[in-house]
Structure formats: structure tokens, C-alpha cells
């Protein structure tokens, strides 16, 4: 019975925790310009994330080592510095864009500029981490995140043509705005496969004390949870395709996304959109901050645990304190949240090889995962994902310059 509860909680939290600033905004922009054509990018990103979450979870269940631990122990400090530095830079920018998302939701609700909201939001996130346990941070924000199901309700209410929707699941070449199309494809992949997600997930497995007998729960959580999350992200794209595209509204400003749900659900739609954006981004804010502190602490050998009191592992807790408050300060400087979100999603996609490629070695290292090693299927899928990640990396610079909004 305990396992069933844990399983259902795992799936629910991965649904609630899936959407964040990047996935919402890239899906809205994608739907508004290309209709259903980009659904395949969401599907690819979701399958990729499913793969990495299952494997990093398996790594942590079997060896008790998180991804951060394993990267340092298996490859030494000389290599580890690369995922450490790129991970911190990329995660910091994504963290700032998440704080921007929450602040913007508050600005749309109250009219007070997001620059005033940035520091209070960062402080609230810090307070949740300082006082909360891992369970509260992950489960709490994700349960609230279930409000994002409003996008599925809106999508169903619009009665999309399911034939066209499934057609969108097949990769197609764009008829217009080619650079913008591929820029959004890469941003969507970056938004779904974010390194902080599987760093956070594998640390969560260790915090929750999962072991070898939790492998089935881990697999179910990864597959079911992430696929429901992918459906949510697809729903956002479908609604944008049915509301913005026919009207010819292109998303130039973040605030325009506020007009997404009112035509479908009226005032409730507006309020629920603000709630979804605010809660989803707040959950992501807490998760990313923790993931960064995990990466540093695990890599450099500091004691770490969100369940313990902050004074029990001071370097870990002060790391996340500095990170979240610094990101809050960045948003008070008036950085445009839409451009920052798009830019950080592109950077996330470009930084994927640094963590995805090493997973190939980690998941086949008998010393770490014993006979729970990757079967041929796991290796082929991860190999394909690594090649995609490297292609994305090589295309990042030209795409950013040409396709960047």
C-alpha cells in the first residue's frame, strides 16, 4: 500500500512540477506561429526527459549516488568542473527567468511592476527552502502545480481536430520563418530536458531514501509522470494554436500570454492562467535553487540535505541562499523576462551534452549500477539523445543569432 501511495504521489508531483516558465512560453510562442507543427518537439523533449529521469533515478536507487556525485567520482574533478560551471551558469539564468515568471504573474494581477516583485519572490522561495523539507518543496509546490491542468480543460473545450494534432506529432519542415521554427524546436527541447530536473530528481531519490526495491516506482514515476507532464505542455501549445494563431496574435511581450485563456474560459481563465504561471514558476524556482546547491555540495564534498536543518549543513544552505537572492536581484535590474526565458532555454539545450553524454558511461558502469545496467535499448535511446544534444549544441549559436526573438 505504501508503494502505491508513493507511486501515485510521484506521478502527481511530476505532473504538477512539469510546467515552468520555459515550457509555457515556448509552447505559447510555438502554437501562436506554427500551430500544431511543433508538437513533435514537445514529444521528443518529453521522451528524452523520461529516459534521463528513469536512468538517473535508477542510478541513485541502486548506487545511492546522485548524478552530481557520480559525475565527480567516476570522471574526477578535471572533467566535473565542466558540468559544474556550465550547470551553474545555465541554471542561474533559468532560475532568474522563473523568478521573472512569478513576478510577471503578480504584475499582471496587481499592476505593480515585476521589478518590485522580484526580491519578495526570491525571499519567499528562500523561506520555503530554509524552513521546508524536501517533501514540502517537491510535493507541496507540485500539488499546487496541478492548477496547470486548466490548459487541458481549455484545450478540450476548444475541440481541436485530433487528426491535425496527431499530424503535428510527426516532424515536419516549416513553410515559413525557418530560423524561428528551429529556434523554437531547440528551445522546447531545452525547456523539457533541463539538467537541473534530473539532478534534482536523483538527489530526491537519495533524500527520500529509495533503494533497489523502489526501482519499479522510479520507472513508473518517470514514464507516467513525465508523459502526463508532456501532455500538459502540449495542451498549452494546442490552446495557443487555436486562440492566437487564427487571430494572428504573435507573442512579442510576455503579458500577451495573459490573453490565452480568457477567450475560452472567461475571467476564470485569466485568473487560472496567472495562478498557473505563478505557481509553476515558483515551484521551479525552489527546485532549481536546490538543484544548484546539490550540484555544488555533491561535487565538492560538502554535506547536503534539504531535510536537515540549515545549520546542520551551512555551506549547502548558504549556497542556495546566495543563488536565489542573486537571481532575484538580476530580475530587479529590468531584464526583459521573455528574452531571458528564450535565451536561457536555448542555453539549456546547448548545455545538454555535458550531462547527457556522461550518463552513457555511468549507466553502464558495473561498479555503480551493478546488473541494473542499461540494456541495449537504454543505450541506443541515450546514444540517440546524445547525438541530438550535440547537434543542438552546434546549432545553438547560429540559431540564437538568426532565430532569437
Amino acid at each position: 500500500m505504501k508503494r502505491l501511495l508513493e507511486l501515485s504521489l510521484g506521478i502527481v508531483t511530476s505532473i504538477g512540477g512539469f510546467l515552468e516558465a520555459g515550457s509555457i512560453i515556448t509552447a505559447v510562442q510555438g502554437g501562436a506561429v506554427f500551430g500544431y507543427q511543433l508538437l513533435w518537439a514537445i514529444a521528443l523533449g518529453t521522451v528524452g526527459l523520461m529516459l534521463l529521469v528513469e536512468q538517473s533515478g535508477r542510478l541513485a536507487c541502486v548506487s545511492g549516488r546522485t548524478v552530481g556525485d557520480a559525475l565527480r567520482e567516476r570522471f574526477g574533478i578535471n572533467f566535473f568542473v565542466i558540468p559544474l560551471v556550465t550547470g551553474l551558469i545555465v541554471s542561474f539564468l533559468v532560475l532568474a527567468s522563473e523568478i521573472g515568471g512569478v513576478s510577471l504573474a503578480l504584475q499582471m494581477a496587481t499592476g505593480i511592476s515585476l521589478q518590485w516583485w522580484a526580491l519578495p519572490v526570491a525571499f519567499a522561495g528562500w523561506f520555503l527552502l530554509w524552513k521546508g523539507t524536501f517533501g514540502i518543496v517537491e510535493k507541496g509546490t507540485s500539488l499546487l502545480g496541478l492548477v496547470t491542468i486548466v490548459f487541458i480543460v481549455a484545450a478540450l473545450k476548444l475541440h481541436p481536430d485530433w487528426g491535425e494534432v496527431t499530424a503535428g506529432l510527426l516532424p515536419t519542415r516549416p513553410s515559413h520563418d525557418r530560423a524561428r521554427y528551429w529556434y523554437l524546436v531547440v528551445s522546447i527541447i531545452g525547456a523539457s530536458i533541463s539538467p537541473y530536473l534530473y539532478m534534482f530528481y536523483s538527489s530526491g531519490v537519495v533524500e527520500d531514501g529509495w533503494g533497489v526495491d523502489d526501482l519499479s516506482t522510479n520507472k513508473a514515476t518517470a514514464v507516467l509522470g513525465m508523459s502526463f507532464g508532456g501532455v500538459l505542455s502540449a495542451a498549452v501549445l494546442v490552446v495557443a494554436a487555436l486562440v492566437f494563431l487564427p487571430r494572428g496574435i504573435q507573442v512579442e511581450r510576455y503579458e500577451q500570454a495573459g490573453l490565452l485563456l480568457p477567450p475560452v474560459l472567461g475571467h476564470a481563465g485569466f485568473v487560472l492562467f496567472l495562478a498557473s504561471l505563478g505557481i509553476a514558476c515558483f515551484g521551479a524556482t525552489a527546485e532549481i535553487t536546490l538543484a544548484m546547491a546539490y550540484l555544488v555540495a555533491q561535487g565538492l564534498g560538502w554535506d547536503w540535505s534539504e531535510n536537515a536543518k540549515p545549520k546542520e549543513n551551512t555551506r549547502f544552505s548558504l549556497t542556495y541562499t546566495v543563488m536565489i537572492l542573486l537571481a532575484g536581484v538580476v530580475m530587479t535590474l529590468g531584464v526583459d523576462p521573455l528574452k531571458l526565458t528564450n535565451f536561457s532555454m536555448m542555453l539549456t539545450a546547448a548545455s545538454l551534452p555535458v550531462t547527457v553524454v556522461p550518463m552513457l558511461v555511468l549507466m553502464n558502469d558495473e561498479a555503480l549500477v551493478g546488473d541494473h545496467r542499461n540494456r541495449w535499448f537504454g543505450n541506443v535511446a541515450l546514444g540517440a539523445l546524445s547525438i541530438i544534444a550535440i547537434v543542438v549544441l552546434l546549432s545553438a549559436v547560429p540559431l540564437q543569432v538568426m532565430g532569437g526573438s
Binding site: 574526477g76 578535471n78 572533467f79 568542473v81 565542466i82 560551471v85 556550465t86 551558469i89 545555465v90 539564468l93 504584475q107 499582471m108 494581477a109 496587481t110 499592476g111 487571430r247 494572428g248 496574435i249 504573435q250 512579442e252 511581450r253 503579458e255 500577451q256 495573459g258 490573453l259 480568457p262 477567450p263 472567461g266 475571467h267 481563465g269 485569466f270 538580476v330 535590474l333 529590468g334 531584464v335 526583459d336 528574452k339 531571458l340 535565451f343 536555448m346 542555453l347 546547448a350 548545455s351 555535458v354 549544441l393 545553438a396 549559436v397 540564437q400 543569432v401 532569437g404 526573438s405
Partner: protein
């Protein structure tokens, strides 16, 4: 454009990652390797390049016209908040002014060159009228602004298509 992108360390891609190779002997157990360790995808400081293609800019103006219409309609039925509406109208007008400034008449095809500036000015005043209507809470004025924005949307869209050809 107030986006101040944080500068990113520009690091060369480490062809040789990992421990040392040929070590020069300058004494001491010096770790001789030299590799770009803060490698982060070679992304330069990118200032989002202004969209200079006139057809795209006119389409953006058309998008703002439609956004104004939607906003006026939704505000009329009370679906969206007052502060939000004023905030978005304000942001829209800023963007329209940016389009006006960056629209290079030489690049705009002759057929539409005369009509575009006028349409943009009219759109700007329509958005201002819509803002006043919201502030005063006058539904009639708001409806008129919505209609004006709607027709402007169509004209700008057709101008955009002509400019695109």
C-alpha cells in the same frame, strides 16, 4: 529595448578535456595541462537583433492591433483585470513606437510605403483611446476602440502581405 543580457564567459571548446598531456618542465609538480574548463556552448553576448524585415514589422503591428481588439473585448466583458489591460496597452504602444522608429521607408515597397506610417499612428491613438476608455470605465468608448483596432488589424495585415511579396 531594455534587455541587458548578462555577459557569458566566452571559452574555447576544449578539444582535449581531461588530465595533462605533454608537460613543460618549469619545475614543481605543475599540472601542465591547459584546457578551456569554463566551456559553455560558445554563446556570445547576444543583443536580440532587431527584426529589420519590414514585412515582419508590419505583421507585428497587425498582431498588436488584434491584441488591442481582444483586450478591449475581454475587458468589456470583465474577463481580464483593469491593471493588466492598461499595462499591456502601454507595453504595446512602446513596441509600436519602436516599430515606427526602426521602419526604414527605403526598404518598404512603394505600394504600401504611403499607407504604413499613417496606420501606425492611428493604431497608437486607438490604443491610447482604449486606455482612456478603460480608465473611465466607459463601455461605449471601449467598443469603438475595439472596432477601430479590428479594422486596423485587417489593413495592417494586408499591408504586411503586400510588403512581403
Amino acid at each position: 529595448m531594455n534587455a541587458t543580457m548578462p555577459t557569458l564567459a566566452q571559452a574555447e571548446l576544449p578539444l582535449r578535456e581531461g588530465p595533462p598531456t605533454m608537460s613543460s618542465s618549469d619545475g614543481g609538480a605543475r599540472n601542465a595541462s591547459r584546457y578551456g574548463w569554463s566551456w559553455c556552448a560558445l554563446v556570445p553576448l547576444v543583443v536580440a537583433c532587431g527584426v529589420s524585415d519590414p514585412a515582419k514589422q508590419i505583421e507585428r503591428a497587425a498582431s498588436w492591433a488584434v491584441t488591442t481588439r481582444e483586450l478591449a473585448i475581454e475587458r468589456g466583458v470583465g474577463s481580464v483585470g483593469r491593471a493588466y489591460t492598461l499595462d499591456l496597452l502601454d507595453a504595446g504602444r512602446k513596441d509600436i513606437r519602436k516599430i515606427e522608429a526602426s521602419l526604414d521607408p527605403a526598404k518598404v515597397p512603394a505600394a504600401v510605403r504611403s499607407q504604413v506610417p499613417g496606420a501606425l499612428v492611428e493604431l497608437d491613438s486607438t490604443m491610447t483611446r482604449a486606455g482612456d476608455a478603460v480608465r473611465r470605465g466607459n463601455p461605449l468608448l471601449l467598443g469603438a476602440a475595439a472596432a477601430a483596432a479590428d479594422s486596423l488589424g485587417h489593413t495592417l495585415e494586408s499591408l504586411g502581405e503586400q510588403a512581403g511579396k
